[in-house]
């Protein structure tokens, strides 16, 4: 598969080289070329925009990290052509996406649909963020305000893991402010 995509990529590069056979086709003077017609016709421009919009939602079959719009692989280029043809035939975005889903499965849609197991992708980050936030909130509160209750805690508790053994041998004449600073800097580690 990897070789295949490599070859496709090289092929796409070769195709992208300017001055290819296609570009050298003789043109009748005065006759508008296809390109300029596409640029000037607002309907063609709109079709291109809609096609690009759909292509951006589809996963390239040979380079799965990229969308069909971004990819220069031959198959992605051909898929863009299919999208344009289908739109021109009167298909809507939904029909075009359904066609590709029918051929490639849900895999082809870049953004996972928020149903079933896919829902985890959307819910888990929010849950992790919320859980982490709550934990951080309480942890910060303990580190700043709860310093006094932790002050005399011996290392045997396992809390400080023995790393702060040097700090446990603290002088008795520490001011309350110093104590708070000390606690917060331990917490920061």
């Amino acid at each position: 598969m990897r070789t295949t995509s490599l070859i496709l990529a090289i092929g796409a590069l070769l195709l992208a080289v300017p001055g290819s056979a296609e570009a050298q086709e003789p043109m009748l003077p005065g006759e508008p070329t296809d390109d300029s017609a596409e640029l000037t016709d607002p309907r063609a421009a709109e079709l291109d925009a809609r096609a690009a919009d759909i292509a951006a939602q589809l996963r390239c079959p040979v380079c799965s990290g990229q969308s069909v719009l971004e990819s220069n692989s031959a198959i992605a280029q051909e898929m863009q052509e299919v999208i344009r043809e289908r739109l021109a035939q009167g298909d809507g975005e939904r029909e075009v996406l359904a066609y590709f889903r029918g051929a490639y499965g849900d895999w082809i849609i870049l953004r996972p649909r928020a149903t079933g197991l896919n829902l985890l992708v959307y819910v888990l980050p929010a849950v992790a963020l919320l859980g982490g936030g709550i934990w951080l909130f309480f942890a910060l509160r303990r580190w700043s305000a709860g310093g006094a209750s932790d002050a005399g805690r011996p290392t045997a508790d396992g809390d400080t893991d023995g790393r702060s053994s040097g700090l446990d041998a603290r002088p008795d004449d520490l001011s309350a402010e110093d104590e708070a600073w000390l606690q917060s800097s331990i917490g920061r580690r």
Binding site: M1, T3, T4, S5, I7, L8, G11, P61, V62, A74, I75, E78, M79, E81, V82, F100, R101, G102, A103, Y104, G105, W107, I108, D157, G158, D159
Partner: protein, 177 residues
């Protein structure tokens, strides 16, 4: 973290590690196809010989539809298996059809001259048929039943065991009237 909550961290890591381990057992080159059991997308394409062939014409036969290209190294490896497939069953029972994927006609013809050719091949301009079938890369092989429905799909070079398994199971199913 407080001592009595210390166990929580490794415990929380277990489902995560489990997920990673599960990922190791999965083949990243395998893409499930929604086409299994569905009517195989029809096509009418020009053969390498110059006439046209369509899937509809092959109704009632088991069709081994093989997407390949001359630039595809694994396609070389599976060629002997396809030769054997074409030899083993008569064409009116099991028809092997090669779909030339993203390749030129002269290259395809040269490939077949080198390695042998015992079945029919069609050109697929613009890869329309490949996209209809949701092809990711070559080789990919679809096994179409006598009723015109996709029975199985194999990604990568086929082996004789794979061909035998799928073709036999599809041959034993009564075809469309």
């Amino acid at each position: 973290m407080r001592g009595r909550w210390r166990w929580l961290l490794p415990v929380a890591a277990i489902p995560f590690l489990g997920l990673l381990l599960f990922g190791l057992t999965r083949n990243p080159d395998f893409f499930p196809t929604p086409l299994i059991g569905q009517p195989a997308p029809d096509w009418r394409l020009e053969t390498l010989e110059g006439d046209t062939l369509s899937l509809a014409e092959l109704d009632g036969r088991v069709v081994v539809l093989n997407f390949w290209a001359s630039w595809c190294v694994p396609c070389r490896a599976e060629h002997d298996v396809l030769m054997r497939t074409a030899r083993t069953w008569p064409d009116d029972d099991v028809q092997v059809v090669g779909v030339v994927y993203d390749d030129s006609r002269p290259n395809a013809e040269r490939f077949l001259r080198q390695l042998g050719n015992d079945w029919r091949h069609v050109m697929d301009p613009g890869s329309r048929t490949a996209i209809d079938y949701g092809v990711h890369g070559v080789p990919e092989t679809f096994f179409v039943g006598r009723d015109g429905r996709v029975g199985a799909k194999h990604i990568g070079p086929v082996t004789w065991d794979v061909v035998q398994l799928y073709v036999d199971s599809l041959r034993n199913v009564a075809g469309a009237p």
